[in-house]
Symmetry: C2
Subunit: 141 residues, 2 copies
């Protein structure tokens, strides 16, 4: 399941895209608009900064802004940064201890294929797709 971390990260990115324009937007404003705890958002954002998705500027007049245009961000990229992983089972998570059953596991290939499906789906949706009020389908077609 996608937790609030991933969902909030997405909402912040969308908020920056809509309300950002060219300048920096303080998280305080985003938190108020989105109805999310400022302190909680402050925990989520550094990962997006380190990955070069948003740029943060300290001090008065500072805030965050998107590092690229919305059509250049995939949802998959943002979710992976916030959630760490989109693996459907523990044994496929990065850094997981290799499962001793892996060789003979009847279900592992299925989990792998679903994992691929998941990554491909979310990599195929961009922030720009979500900003248009259309469904991702329509955006793609």
């Amino acid at each position: 399941m996608i937790s609030t971390r991933g969902r909030y990260a997405l909402r912040v990115m969308l908020d920056l895209a809509e309300n950002g324009g060219a300048g920096y937007v303080p998280m305080k404003e985003v938190a108020a608009r989105q109805g999310i705890s400022l302190k909680y958002l402050e925990q989520i954002l550094p990962a997006l900064v380190r990955a070069g998705c948003v740029e943060g500027v300290h001090g008065r007049g500072g805030g965050y802004r998107l590092a690229r245009a919305p059509e250049l961000f995939s949802v998959g990229e943002i979710l992976r940064l916030a959630e760490g992983d989109l693996a459907p089972v523990a044994c496929l998570q990065m850094g997981a201890a290799p499962c001793p059953r892996a060789e003979t596991c009847r279900t592992l290939p299925m989990w792998r294929e679903y994992y691929d499906l998941t990554n491909k789906y979310f990599d195929g949706v961009t922030l720009a797709d979500l900003l248009g009020a259309e469904t991702p389908d329509e955006a793609k077609g």
Copy 2:
């Protein structure tokens, strides 16, 4: 993420398909073969019985057996019984309080489409597919 409940349920069904034949298999044996706590399995199985996926018989010579042939079980059916739901976000879970943002939510259509994708994928894989040592792809093609 698919938890052990769903994964164990699948493994039990596969074990019954492989080692069951026509008769009843005691959970004790399945637990030993699969290296899973018997007491934990006993918690998972009633849901499969109630749904008519497996049949349990008490007493000496009893145990469980599949209620249908392996090709008539989809993985999706079993996972939903064990996990309750395959919803990727809380607001899509059955019985969830309706989200006040639903009307204007930019991301909800995407979650919905991914939810559909998930159900369709797992509904398209059968126990029989997993029993053949092939990948689900090959089984389908």
